[in-house]
């Protein structure tokens, strides 16, 4: 079993060589006392949850310890009562990073004060938002930070058993987590009598099979209990009656990764970052039509402009930036004119979007907003668990309407019907999935109603993206190079060399291959 002295010894032994190795690689630099990744992309970032990612070897517990790992646990167990941990986290105003932004300390306090013979702490590593990979990076690149966060949570609420519910589609994360758990057990950082304090805590993995809804807290518990993953109605708080009817705390990966850092540096330090009501940082998966896609961790309150343009480099290929979608299938589309909105829980809520778990999809001028709404809704339709009527039946009907609109078969009244269905589905669904599924539709109608109208009334897709509503035509700019005719998969293009070519609309499947290949931009979409 590891002791305080031993922990210090490992740190002192490992750190110098680690630092040397890193500086040599030229990937990192010092920012104050902290080692951070080098490069323009990282300049504006502040990394707390990702602080060790791409810096330490995740399969080597000693390197985690070298970066002050497990010192927060040591300090809590040997110097403080559980109540202190709860207070410190409450004081830090750390808010859940899994989507809802519920204050973690308040949640822990509920379980801490509730008497029971057994309590559980669960790490929600089900990350199911399309295009999101924040949690995955932490799990794969810094698994010990999650384990330490859970152990601290376990100590705080009086639990001796933790579960990590991780999706089986993350085999590397599963592997790294298991290695980390084994190493922590070997060192006695998990198991019985940790640091000789009498505190017992162990963690087991539970694999989910990729149902998005299993990321919802109660569905996740049903799944761990061996049932079909469907949300339970919220009659009791899970902090009182959760997994197997026992007090249970469920936290997101990123939330937990923040915990050891907060305990090490103090709540006050944490509150110095971000905004008054949303302190700290948030990790985003910046994807879509953006120049520099990737993970970014920024202080809360940074504007969308700074994230999309200063870090992300704006829209790809010199196209015009159109909108950004936050919060994945539960979030909303934010139009270009609101680009100066600060990114924090409150500000995003005010403009009908949500922070969500951190998906941030950038869209350019060629993105059709009706099609985007359809894309996200399709995800919800597919992932609905089918338990309750509005989500099971209602989202499907909304999808059918959107599908018709994008095919040019929209009819007068469709927008109103969508609005009405959105209202019913969001206000009557049982769980967060159904309650938020209409958000992409609501926001796109709110900000881009004219695009819906163009589809329905003029049978026109302003972004020139909906296949049924566009035509490829060759203009007189054509130099007769024959490239388009060669590339067309259905031989729709005819024309002699050096003469103007022609597309037979009855054959064209609108794949866009000719458009991409024409050297003189002679092909236009109308």
């Amino acid at each position: 079993m590891i002791t305080k002295e031993k922990l210090f010894e490992i740190k002192e032994k490992t750190k110098p060589s680690l630092v040397e190795k890193l500086l040599e690689s030229d990937r990192v630099e010092f920012r104050g006392e902290d080692l951070v990744l080098k490069g323009e992309y990282y300049k504006k970032q502040v990394r707390i949850a990702l602080k060790n990612c791409d810096i330490i070897d995740p399969t080597n517990i000693d390197e985690y310890i070298a970066m002050d790992g497990y010192f927060a646990l040591l300090k809590a167990l040997t110097e403080h009562e559980p109540g202190y941990v709860v207070e410190e986290i409450t004081e830090s105003l750390l808010r859940g990073r899994g989507g809802a932004g519920f204050p973690t300390g308040r949640k822990w306090n509920e379980a801490y004060r509730y008497q029971a013979d057994k309590k559980y702490i669960i790490c929600n590593a089900d990350e199911g938002d399309p295009g999101a990979f924040m949690d995955r990076s932490i799990l794969e690149k810094d698994p010990h930070s999650v384990l330490e966060g859970m152990a601290l949570g376990g100590y705080a609420i009086g639990s001796d058993q933790g579960y990590i519910y991780v999706r089986a589609e993350y085999p590397m994360a599963v592997k790294r987590l298991q290695i980390a758990i084994d190493q922590a057990r070997e060192y006695g950082l998990l198991g019985k009598n940790i640091f000789g304090t009498g505190f017992n805590f162990d963690i087991e993995l539970r694999l989910g099979s990729g149902a998005f809804v299993c990321g919802e807290g109660t569905a996740l518990m049903e799944s761990i209990e061996g049932r079909r993953g469907m949300p339970r109605p919220k009659i009791h708080r899970t902090a009182h009656k959760g997994l197997w009817g026992k007090p249970t705390i469920i936290n997101n990966v990123e939330t937990l990764a923040n915990v050891p850092v907060i305990m090490n540096r103090g709540a006050k330090w944490f509150r110095g970052i971000g905004t008054e009501e949303s302190p700290g940082t948030k990790v985003f998966a910046l994807v879509g039509k953006v120049e520099n896609a990737g993970l970014v961790e920024v202080p809360m309150g940074m504007t969308l402009r700074e994230i999309v343009f200063d870090i992300g480099g704006g829209a790809q290929d010199g196209k015009e930036y159109k909108a950004v979608q936050t919060g994945g299938p539960s979030g909303g589309c934010i139009p270009a004119e609101l680009i100066d909105t600060p990114v924090d829980f409150e500000s995003l809520g005010k403009i009908w979007s949500i922070m969500g778990s951190g998906g941030m999809v950038v869209m350019d001028e060629n993105t059709c907003m009706v099609d985007i709404a359809k894309f996200f809704l399709d995800f919800s339709v597919e992932e609905s668990c089918g338990k309750c009527v509005p989500c099971r039946e209602g989202t499907k009907r909304m999808y059918e309407i959107l599908d018709r609109i994008t095919k040019g078969e929209g009819v007068e009244g469709d927008i109103e019907r969508l609005e009405e269905l959105s209202e019913t589905v969001s206000s009557t669904s049982l769980c967060g999935l159904g309650q938020t599924a209409p958000n992409p539709v609501i926001t796109t109608i709110k900000y881009y109603r004219h695009e819906y109208e163009a589809h329905i009334k003029d049978k026109r897709c302003p972004a020139k993206s909906c296949k049924a509503l566009i035509k490829y035509e060759i203009t007189d700019k054509c130099i007769g190079c024959t490239r388009c005719a060669k590339v067309c998969p259905v031989v729709a293009i005819t024309g002699k060399v050096k003469e103007m070519h022609h597309i037979d609309q009855s054959i064209c499947i609108k794949c866009g291959a000719c458009y991409d290949v024409c050297p003189v931009d002679a092909i236009s979409i109308i």
Partner: protein
């Protein structure tokens, strides 16, 4: 707890759900998935009510009354939500009330009537049809299933058999047996408790008779199959039993077994003995009770005199009441004087 419902003040015990509270004061709140005996599932969403200061609507079945709560059970907003939900359900439902066995006792039909829903606004894609008639006693028609989950929960939580569950997700969700192997190949014990709770015509007994629910009258009786004495309501058309429903307000709490639920056809079977019979010259002939009992007593006396008490053996039935069985053994032990008496429930 002082609670205001639709403008009137009432007092309820702590822990009472809003749904229970409403039913206590005689207010009808629609619900397709609630069953007092089961863990609430909150899946049909029909029982939503408006609670002042609570923002969105809340399902009455999963919300407990709180001091000072002000509840509206039929506000415009509530009614609109219920109409929309029913519209969604009926849009994905075959409109076969004309021939459906459940007509007249169907909750979906009743609520659509109450809330004025006709054929459904969204009659576009429909759920995949599936029909399972492999069980000898009942059928399952997935087209009519509204996925209230009652059957699955009853089979799990009360019957303890877990023969059925949900399969697929979202719009494709269906009630199914494991690996889609059909009821015949499942662990189903044909208790029919799922059939008894199905609010629509998705689970239907394989009835031998055509009847309409409004043509029947109900007679409460005790099941004659075993000493548990389950209470049941016989649905009778003319002079014939056409269906059996378990009694909910009795000790069997709405449950029956396969025999109680489905095996009543013998009652009007032509082979059934309706009068005592006595063998005369080698042929059984109908007779009255007086003669029959005379024959029995005289034969008993004769045998006892000639062969002694232990020449008798008596076997009685679990289908008799405890009192009948008691009297039977008394007859054998003290009148005939033998201990050779037994009972078919000795398994």
């Amino acid at each position: 707890m002082q609670v205001t419902i639709n403008g009137k003040q009432y007092d309820f015990d702590k822990g009472t759900t809003v749904l229970k509270a409403c039913s206590e004061i005689g207010l009808d709140i629609p619900t397709l998935c609630n069953d007092e005996r089961l863990v609430p599932s909150g899946s049909c969403r029909l029982c939503q009510v408006e609670i002042e200061g609570w923002g969105k609507l809340h399902t009455a079945c999963t919300t407990q009354v709180r001091e000072g709560m002000v509840i509206h059970t039929h506000s415009d907003r509530v009614i609109k939500a219920r109409q929309d939900l029913l519209d969604m359900l009926i849009s994905n439902h075959p409109l076969e009330c004309l021939t459906c066995e459940k007509s007249g006792a169907c909750k979906l039909q009743d609520y659509c009537y109450e809330y004025g829903i006709t054929e459904g606004t969204y009659r576009w894609e429909m759920s995949k049809p599936y029909f399972d008639d492999t069980n000898p006693f009942y059928t399952f028609d997935a087209r009519k299933c509204i996925l209230c989950g009652l059957c699955v929960r009853v089979c799990d939580e009360l019957q303890g058999t877990n023969a059925i569950g949900f399969e697929n997700r979202g719009f494709d969700t269906q009630v199914a047996t494991p690996f889609g192997e059909g009821l015949e190949n499942s662990t189903c014990v044909s208790c029919g408790n799922c059939v008894s709770v199905c609010p629509v015509g998705a689970l239907e007994p394989k009835s031998k008779k055509k009847f309409r629910h409004w043509e029947t009258r109900t007679v409460r009786t005790t099941c004659s199959y075993c000493g548990v004495g389950c209470q049941m309501d016989l649905k009778i058309k003319g002079n014939e039993i056409v269906e059996v429903q378990p009694a909910f307000d009795a000790h069997n709490e709405g449950l029956l077994c396969v025999k109680g639920k489905f095996s009543y056809n013998f009652l009007s079977h032509p082979d059934r003995l309706k009068k005592p019979m006595v063998r005369k010259d080698g042929v059984l002939v109908e007779t009255g009770w007086d003669e029959a009992l005379d024959v029995i007593t005289s034969k008993m006396k004769e045998v006892k005199k000639e062969f002694g008490s232990d020449a008798f053996a008596g076997l009685t039935s679990a289908r008799c009441t405890n009192e009948d069985n008691y009297m039977f053994q008394k007859l054998f032990r003290s009148t005939l004087g033998t201990n050779n008496v037994d009972h078919c429930a000795r398994l």
